[in-house]
Subunit: 313 residues, 4 copies
């Protein structure tokens, strides 16, 4: 079943191909100007910081449903090894990791998704090969720093966690922005909270908790793409597995928000961001905007990256 | 040959064990207060950003001299795979990585080094096992954000790159700070530039370039530990393989600055930071202090972490 | 709850420490003589071969219950890459793998298990460190070739698969050997079939199938250790996750057969061997003994190894 | 510069496409019949065994010249971990590995090489993607057991090691077979010894030794392809990095023997086989033919596999 007409209509209306030149590889991140970053820094008034990554551990959120997207598996290369043979001198401890770049808190880069041979800015999909993405690789984003706004839809609705499968609408985003007393403006990074990551606070986290976290989940709907487009949002992230509501639409529309955001708009999107402590603090002081640094790790040709985003208020 | 008396004397004079309590696991990062972070944000005046990581690539700086510390090897899990079997619908591209956490631009955590059974804050070295560091794991550093100061010793000396093996002294640091018109104060992160990473600008980078980059290199000397201690520096990083001068001292003193910084002071230290563009900009505008976010990736039990530090002026 | 007295009594009665010298690192594999191998080759009468490994794939049998023991994850380093830039000339395809050495069909080496500070032949357990096993590493087994005997307990009992949790007794082994018309003799490798791996024939293999395969399972019991000891068996393997019955005994006796086989007897043991086709053939021609090559991959310091055992009749 | 006419002429004359049907995926391994395997077993007269793999270790033969083809890096998942919390009970040790499948002693599968869009048996080269080879994957070789013959060209020439770059001719192979008093017949596996792997006996093996081992090396020449074709050899392996002489021919002929063997003939070929001890024994007893099991690990879609070949005399 092909994608429906209304999808293609939306795609055309939010398409950013060529907007920043035929060679552009970072899309809506272009909305972030030095002036925007200067303003972002002015958001810092108390110096309170929040790290928004979930822990990187072999006991992570991946459950094997996506074979290959393995949890961060860190192993030791050395443990207190006397480098000169004498333990009273220098002893070394080293470690290594193997992990899916999309396995934990991460950004999806603009080469992460394609459809119908379409890739952001019209690059051929063959520009991605076994070496990775020669176009739109994650390393093309030099830095990703801006003002960020938390749209806490869960708190707006008065729940700990939105119902699994709840479709977040434009009206929800507007109401959350109003609650936050903030206007989303050009170059902002928007963080959407569904409360889903609250599941990850359970200790110990059992397989069934991870399954519950993964899906179904509340999330963004197709209609909100225009909302982000109009406001010239630089990037968007959420506290769930898929950013968008899942499942939410018929089969042919599998993850349609990904297609619109990444392919048509060129908007980098984040998943599995841990927003619980930040949200509590925002509710506490009533300030929902802040400085954010969520710069990717510089993986050459990468289609994604783990990230430990830092919010500062 | 045991460590000499003067080493142990220095160790005692800069030792921070217990300073932040018997349970402290982050050492000198405690010098960073919310007020310090607030001041750091005020450093941002133009919104210009600098990412200080070298590229993460299988063609990285490791040459095999340290077997196991492998270059970032990113491979593809999926390339434009039609998830529903139909290429006109959602096509997925995913990647994974295997890498030494100390293979590129990184922080050495406080569990990275021990000697004579000594580990920061007196924790038993057996607290590190095949699961990693149960004490002083890199994830214990929630965020690492502060004002940073660039001490550009190479430019101070009027050279592109300090002579390999050049030992940076306290006088050098003082002179570099004076040139920078900045006082290093409590909670600062200090970036020391030797110019060594300029070698990495050669394209293509050949095996002999990598060997030249790795060693010998100019770097910090033992005497500077007191300099950092007195100024209550939160963390230190350099643009070379070992931070400290290498080789520089007799065998029994193998990497002695590591021992003092990490074990005695509890000072997190960084290596392979790429400072060339930042240094050029500082020389240009005469401003050598700036905001820095160099928060670790949240590797549970990690003894190090790759990092893409972001400086903002 | 400590291990019961009868366990320790059994341990003493089958202990092989020192039997092949204080420096021995391969245990019961010493039973295999050149003469035995010569006889093994004489088992080959038809030239029919059987590979006894399950497929190595990211969609393997591990379900995440043992974090870190990841399924074989093979990724591409190159796909038809023109090495000289010209696709009419040499194009290269290369791959790599990351996997738990115990994740698929494998041997447990003699360094795989210890208890109460006991390791085979009295080696200190500290001989295993971040580099692996300096004693009893899997590479110490130069080759592992011998006559093998299939003891098909499932067919003996007239079932496709033994009941989960069924404890295989000495009487079962005797009856299976009688059915096979074979005497187990010194240096034989014994393959025990429970039928559990028949679950792996289901296509596609679903998570619940893998869970069902993993446990509970029929398997060897503690009493059979003497049976193997008396017959001087060189190595033993089964078509299930744990070789031994699981669960089968109270908590303090967690995997007691492993302790006896590996630590006390020094008997290398195999798991997840796929015996279905071989068993069908044996039932067909009535011949349950054959040549077997199950030589480990030469992992220096390895405590286990993937293996693709080859049976030839 | 395109491949010369004589290359294409040779290609046509030894081409095996369709010989074993349009669906064949194992090529010359089809020459091995059950009867051949039966005869192979009869080669076993003393029961003496030889494992022909080099050690699998992070200190392996790869020097980084081929980024990504990393040495076997085995790390520990557990070291004597008390699984029930009590060290007097079951303590577990587990390990994992990451390695290039072509990094040590290995087989090149039939999907390893292509040129001009040509892949063995006319399969489209697009049959290889990020999942690996859907055609001619290494797992399609169920078992690889046969009689093998050692052609010891180094000993024939009276040298420890053939001169680097020495081109082995048909005459050399004939003379080596004559010295061996053996006729190479249909289904044989041929092992060619250049003596190059003798370099790997140096202890400790230094970077310059590894570089010397890698290249240049003596090896097979293009003309020998017909020799193997006429004799219906099932598979061929050598004790060097590239099997064929390197460098040996002009640029456009980069690794031409690979193209002929793999693409045109469908002949699986092996590299980095350690033949020193076997060769010494053959020289000693004058017997150069033996049983060989070199069955691949069952990597689904793999284009190569590590292998620990076992020769038995």
């Amino acid at each position: 079943m092909p994608l429906p007409d209304e999808f293609h209509e939306l795609a055309r209306s939010v398409n950013n191909w060529g907007r920043w030149g035929a060679d552009d590889e970072i899309g809506t991140i272009n909305f972030i100007t030095p002036e925007k970053i200067r303003q972002a820094a002015q958001q810092v008034t108390t110096g309170k910081t929040f790290a928004l990554s979930i822990p990187l551990s072999k006991d992570g959120i991946q459950t094997g449903l996506l074979p290959g997207r393995i949890n961060p598996l860190r192993t030791m290369l050395d443990i207190n090894r006397p480098m000169l043979g004498d333990p009273t001198l220098f002893c070394n401890t080293d470690d290594m990791v193997v992990m899916g770049l999309q396995s934990a808190t991460h950004w999806d880069g603009l080469a992460h998704v394609s459809y119908a041979g379409r890739m952001y800015n019209g690059y051929p999909i063959t520009s991605i090969d076994s070496d990775g993405a020669s176009r739109c690789g994650i390393e093309k984003i030099t830095t990703l720093v801006s003002r960020a706004v938390l749209l806490d839809v869960a708190t707006l609705k008065g729940v700990e966690r939105l119902d699994p499968g709840y479709p977040i609408s434009c009206a929800d985003l507007d109401a959350a922005a109003e609650m936050a007393k903030v206007s989303v403006t050009s170059g902002d990074i928007v963080l959407v909270r569904t409360g889903q990551a609250g599941i990850l606070d359970r200790k110990p986290l059992k397989p069934k908790d991870k399954a519950e976290y993964a899906k179904p989940c509340a999330g963004l709907t197709l209609e909100t793409a225009r909302w982000f487009h109009q406001r010239e949002v630089a990037a968007v992230a959420a506290d769930n597995f898929s950013l968008e509501v899942y499942p939410g639409v018929p089969n042919s529309m599998f993850l349609p928000v990904h297609l619109i955001h990444i392919v048509e708009m060129g908007m980098t999107q984040g998943q599995n961001w841990y927003l619980e402590e930040l949200a509590a603090d925002c509710a506490d002081d009533g300030r929902y905007s802040f400085f954010l640094d969520a710069t990717p790790q510089k993986f050459v040709g990468g289609v994604g990256t783990m990230v430990n985003p830092v919010a500062i208020k």
